[in-house]
């Protein structure tokens, strides 16, 4: 099995390293590992996985949110938002870089997927931050990591999958995600403040200070925030007002974005067409990788590498703390190669009995799993947020990864804090 894992890893690295498109590298790796280590013909499996992962109601939210982001980006609404926010964030070290974190946190409350959060928020913030002279590594790092919160802050596709598979209450899981989500936001923002004070300001990586403004001017300037607030308010309102499900809310977002842009006088046929085709490109790119990842996941299911690795840990008879450390390591390593949901599906059936025996609360464990999955979104070579940002900026995955390392470590810290103080996750669901 060790050889199998190593060979599979090696193939993936060779293909990726030689510049094969990511989706094809995943497909190629899966193909070769099926051909070498199992008796199954890869062709039919590829076709049926590819088909199976290209349709689905829940998946429609992703292209819709991407389209919404393209409209906001092209119609100047993103620019307005920055001009409205800028005077308020002048004194906070790190200034507009916080928009990545706050924006992701807010958008995460609307959207259940981290790739969609990343693509939508990033389309608005990254070009603006770059224009304003912010440190590009910090801009990318905050975006890549904060947008993973899409999975933790409700609604969340990930928590739904976990809830369905383990028969835990989805509403309680959603409640449990709020505390840790806020904790991670806070950790990220504190880190950003610290970085700005110690390093960023000195290197001019935190943009140019806007001229000081009186409170009245600040407030007068804030009307520019209205359109974007109306948009987010409209989407959240449609979900909690019982008008739209979280999946439907994405299409609501597209329509609202068009209406608001139109009302603001920044919408025409050209913007409609350009935003639509840009959305087709990005959505196709991501969907193609999702299909490739699903084929790789199946190949892993057939070779049973992940479940056998989990069995090794199950057989070690560890104490709860050691078990959690070992599991975290295993999931982080697997998370380098598998995308989030598959990771959970492939290992839960082996690890859940251990977790129950070790006495972990299953709601708490769900939140823990989601944070680990969030981390796997920013670990190369298979990390969806990295892919989205590469699509956005054209920067190489390794550069992007380097920018996310501090935030990766902060998420580990969040897990440690949650282990020490389980109430961070469990207070809200228990108060329900």
């Amino acid at each position: 099995m060790l050889i199998m894992s190593l060979v599979t890893t090696l193939i993936l690295f060779v293909l990726l390293g030689s510049g094969v498109w990511i989706a094809f590298a995943l497909i190629g790796t899966a193909w070769l590992s099926l051909a070498m280590f199992t008796s199954f013909a890869p062709g039919p499996i590829l076709a049926s996985d590819f088909w199976g992962s290209s349709y689905g109601w829940d998946l429609t939210a992703l292209p819709m949110f991407i389209w919404m982001g393209e409209i906001l980006f092209r119609s100047g609404l993103a620019n307005n938002m920055f001009r409205g926010l800028s005077p308020w964030l002048n004194r906070l070290p790190g200034r507009l870089l916080h928009t990545n974190i706050i924006g992701s946190g807010m958008f995460a409350a609307v959207c259940g997927s981290s790739a969609a959060t990343c693509a939508t928020v990033g389309k608005m913030t990254v070009p603006e931050l770059e224009k304003r002279g912010y440190d590009s590594n910090m801009a990318i790092g905050t975006l890549a990591s904060a947008s993973t919160l899409g999975l933790l802050i409700p609604p969340s596709i990930m928590l739904i999958v976990y809830g369905v598979v383990t028969e835990q209450s989805i509403s309680r899981l959603f409640m449990a995600g709020i505390g840790p989500g806020a904790l991670i936001l806070l950790l990220f923002m504190s880190f950003l403040v610290g970085w700005a004070l110690l390093i960023g300001n000195r290197h001019g990586g935190t943009g140019i200070a806007d001229p000081a403004m009186s409170l009245v001017d600040k407030i007068r300037n804030s009307w520019q925030l209205l359109p974007i607030l109306a948009l987010i308010g409209g989407i959240i309102g449609s979900i909690y007002g019982g008008l739209a499900s979280p999946t439907e809310a994405a299409a609501v977002g597209v329509v609202l974005a068009m209406l608001i842009a139109r009302y603001n006088g920044h919408f025409n046929r050209e913007i409609f067409r350009d935003s639509l085709f840009a959305a087709v490109r990005t959505a196709t790119m991501i969907a193609f990788i999702i299909a490739g990842a699903s084929f790789l996941t199946s190949a892993m299911g057939f070779t049973q590498i992940p479940s056998r690795l989990a069995q090794v840990i199950a057989g070690m008879g560890l104490s709860p703390t050691a078990l959690l450390v070992a599991l975290t390591l295993l999931l982080l390593v697997l998370g380098c190669f598998l995308d989030g949901i598959s990771l959970i599906l492939l290992v839960t059936s082996i690890i859940m009995p251990m977790i129950e025996t070790a006495g972990f609360d299953l709601i708490w464990f769900g939140i823990y799993l989601v944070i680990v999955v969030e981390m796997s979104q920013i670990t190369p070579p298979v990390g969806f947020n990295l892919f989205v940002i590469q699509g956005l900026t054209g920067k190489d995955i390794l550069t992007i990864t380097r920018a996310t390392i501090p935030f990766f470590l902060l998420m580990l810290l969040a897990i440690a804090l949650m282990y020490q103080f389980p109430a961070i996750a469990l207070y809200l669901p228990q108060a329900m």
Binding site: L15, L16, G17, S18, G19, V20, W21, I22, A23, F24, A25, I27, G28, W31, P42, G43, L46, A47, S48, F50, W51, S54, Y55, W57, L59, T60, P63, M64, W67, V126, P127, S238, G242, L243, A244, T247, E248, A250, A251, V252, V254, L276, F277, V280, R281, T282, A283, T284, M285, F288, I289, Q390, G391, L392, T393, G394, D396, I397, L398, T399
Partner: protein, 189 residues
């Protein structure tokens, strides 16, 4: 790189774009009907209870078109991402051969996928497979859309491979990959 069949790939993209619009319109209409009901209840009237039967089923299968038909278009716009950190440092004469390798890998997998999808469609027709929701949509329809999309990608890859091979055999030192500058231009437009 110039693609002779560019118009065909653009046609695919139009198909994908229409699917996107259809998904958005369908869902928005459904939500609108619910808004109407909400208003009626607010003013003390009874709900109309209108809904589009099977709208989520239709949307689910429209997604196949929205992301499948755009595959070739996305490829010729260099929007499929890859890791070029290592290969971009190679001299053009070597780089051109890694590019041939990449295209060959991609093409062979795409051919295998296209073939697999044709078999899938054959089976769906033979056994008259339909969707399991409200509408009994014959599955060969969205499957064919997917196969067309993958087939277009196949053509684009063949074109790219032939052009690159020609460069590799005639003027390897003049090879330059255009995806890096293309994506940068993308993020600024």
């Amino acid at each position: 790189m110039r693609f002779r069949l560019l118009k065909l790939y653009n046609l695919g993209a139009w198909g994908a774009a229409l699917c996107m619009i259809a998904i958005c319109g369908l869902v928005a209409l459904q939500v609108l009907l619910r808004c109407v009901d909400g208003l009626l209840v607010l003013f003390g009237a009874a709900r109309l209870g209108l809904g589009i039967t099977g709208f989520s089923e239709i949307a689910a299968y429209l997604l196949v078109g929205a992301t499948g038909l755009g595959l070739a278009y996305t490829f010729v716009h260099h929007a499929h991402i890859r890791v070029t950190l290592l290969v971009s440092r190679l001299p053009p004469a070597v780089r051109v051969w890694t590019e041939v390798f990449c295209l060959a890998v991609a093409l062979s997998l795409t051919v295998a996928l296209t073939y697999g999808l044709t078999q899938l469609i054959d089976e769906s027709i033979e056994f008259q497979d339909v969707s399991s929701g409200f509408l009994s949509i014959p599955l060969w329809i969205p499957q064919t859309a997917l196969m067309v999309g993958v087939g277009l990608l196949c053509l684009a890859l063949i074109e790219a491979l032939l052009t690159t091979l020609k460069t590799a055999l005639t003027t390897p030192s003049r090879f330059h990959s255009d995806d890096a500058d293309d994506s940068r231009e993308e993020s600024h437009n």
